[in-house]
């Protein structure tokens, strides 16, 4: 039952588990950028920049959109401040609700054999990406410069990522 490897720390570094220095990105765009920079990056969730950056951007777009919608309805300055303070918590709670509703939808899809992935993450990812893109489109229509820029930034990233997917597919690296 017991298997003894002659050099286990090397096994851990090279074969058994990914090495601590290994580069991996989940999205095609940073993988393509790494490739253009002469580095090899595989498809893996190893990048904190990707995880934190993307998370803050998705959450930020939602917060900005909700603040943009709510603030004109609140008049006194202190109430606006209170709304701004509580808003991230409200958006967080809304996300929790969204995950739950999506999980029910996934359960329904599984029941009819239309979804079979091990986790619901892929389905949740597509719903969240679609919703964020919708919010970004609404922000693009806004007159305020920076909100418009935020929307354009998101749409630009989305476009570049789709192009990167095609490019990597062409290179058979996806």
């Amino acid at each position: 039952m017991v298997f003894v490897s002659p050099d286990l720390s090397e096994t851990m570094k090279d074969g058994g588990s990914p090495s601590g220095r290994e580069i991996g990105y989940a999205f095609a765009l940073p993988r393509l950028i790494a490739r253009l920079g002469g580095r090899r990056a595989r498809r893996a969730e190893f990048s904190r920049w990707e995880a934190y950056g993307m998370g803050i951007l998705v959450f930020g777009v939602s917060c900005v959109f909700v603040a943009h919608t709510l603030l004109p309805l609140v008049r006194p300055a202190f109430a606006q401040l209170l709304v701004l303070l509580l808003l991230p918590f409200a958006v967080w709670a809304a996300f929790l609700l969204l995950y739950y509703v999506n999980s029910l939808m996934t359960a329904l899809l599984r029941r009819f054999g239309l979804y079979s992935a091990m986790t619901n993450n892929l389905f949740q990812h597509h719903v969240i990406m679609s919703l964020t893109t919708l919010l970004a489109l609404l922000l693009v229509r806004d007159e305020s410069g920076w909100m418009k820029s935020l929307g354009v930034f998101w749409l630009g990233l989305l476009f570049l990522n789709l192009i990167s997917i095609l490019f990597l597919k062409f290179l058979h690296e996806l």
Binding site: P6, M12, K13, G20, R48, A51, W92, F95, N121
Partner: protein
């Protein structure tokens, strides 16, 4: 306990509801939204888990002396944030077999441990010890028997046991560190059969054999069971820690083994020297990674 109290108890900080909710979160939240979700959950638990917060603060006062109370509050939050990451990474590995990248410090000691016929792996409530045991057992195909402090909630304990055994592919077995007299004999037999025993040696629970030593200049009681076992079985003790370095990245820190060699010297002296060597190692690692020392009970005497 009435039915209502039993039902309500499920929602306690260490209750089963949160463990199950964590499993739900990891199978439903895309990886890039986890940092945001964990950030907010940590804020909530920072207020809800008051005893744990107070314990971290009391430990921090000794580990980081001379710091302002406000700064230590921030550090306590960071410790809970890291704790949230480690339990969610362990659950992620169990549920989705997510990959983690590792770097190794002290690889030669890890090699020695993996090829040892019977050894004691001495670790602390630090970093991701659950994930570490599971990965070690799976990658190196060695069975590990983990000795843990008993969980306050029975259902949570059951859930954790099942999770660990599942994550380790059946190679991780759990034993609880209680006053059970049969446990030391069980462990001794396992070591003699060539197994690796993993014990957390940074906290002595009630009714378990312990000895005083110095840690960060304070008198503390640490369990002496691992050292007695090492002395009787004549096997080395390998200090091993696994700390989180970044998103989905960990560092395995293996330190020089500690030996309790049977000689003509008094057994008590040999064991005391070994405990002192362990407390020096522990102090060194905690000092460098204080934000990942998840000792959620006060370790040091009250001042």
């Amino acid at each position: 306990m009435t039915n209502f109290r039993r039902w309500f108890h499920r929602f306690a900080v260490r209750g089963i509801v949160w463990r199950r909710y964590l499993d739900f979160g990891l199978t439903n939240v895309p990886f890039y939204l986890r940092p945001v979700m964990i950030f907010f959950w940590t804020i909530l638990f920072f207020f809800l888990a008051a005893p744990a917060r107070r314990a971290i603060l009391s430990n921090l006062r000794v580990v980081r002396p001379g710091s302002s109370p406000l700064l230590n509050l921030g550090r306590a939050w960071l410790t809970l944030y890291n704790f949230a990451w480690t339990i969610s990474d362990a659950a992620d590995h169990k549920l989705a077999k997510t990959e983690f990248a590792y770097e190794v410090e002290g690889g030669e000691f890890l090699d020695q441990l993996a090829s040892a016929h019977g050894a004691i792996l001495l670790t602390a409530h630090m970093g991701n010890y659950d994930l570490g045991a599971a990965v070690f057992a799976q990658r190196f195909q060695r069975a590990i028997r983990m000795v843990r402090a008993p969980e306050a909630d029975g259902q949570t304990a059951k859930h954790l046991d099942e999770s660990l055994e599942r994550a380790g592919g059946g190679a991780v077995k759990i034993a609880y560190n209680t006053s059970n007299v049969a446990l030391p004999l069980e462990l001794l037999n396992a070591i003699r059969a060539g197994e690796i025993i993993s014990i957390q040696g940074d906290r002595a629970v009630a009714n378990v054999s312990q000895r005083e030593t110095r840690l960060f200049g304070e008198n503390v009681s640490l369990p002496d069971g691992p050292f007695m076992l090492a002395f009787v079985a004549q096997v080395p003790i390998f200090p091993l820690f696994i700390v989180r370095t970044s998103f989905h990245r960990y560092k395995i820190i293996a330190r020089e083994p500690i030996f309790c060699v049977r000689t003509k010297r008094d057994r008590t002296i040999v064991i005391e020297e070994a405990i002192q060597a362990w407390s020096r190692t522990l102090e060194n690692v905690i000092d460098a990674h204080w934000s990942q020392w998840f000792s959620l009970v006060p370790i040091f005497p009250k001042r």
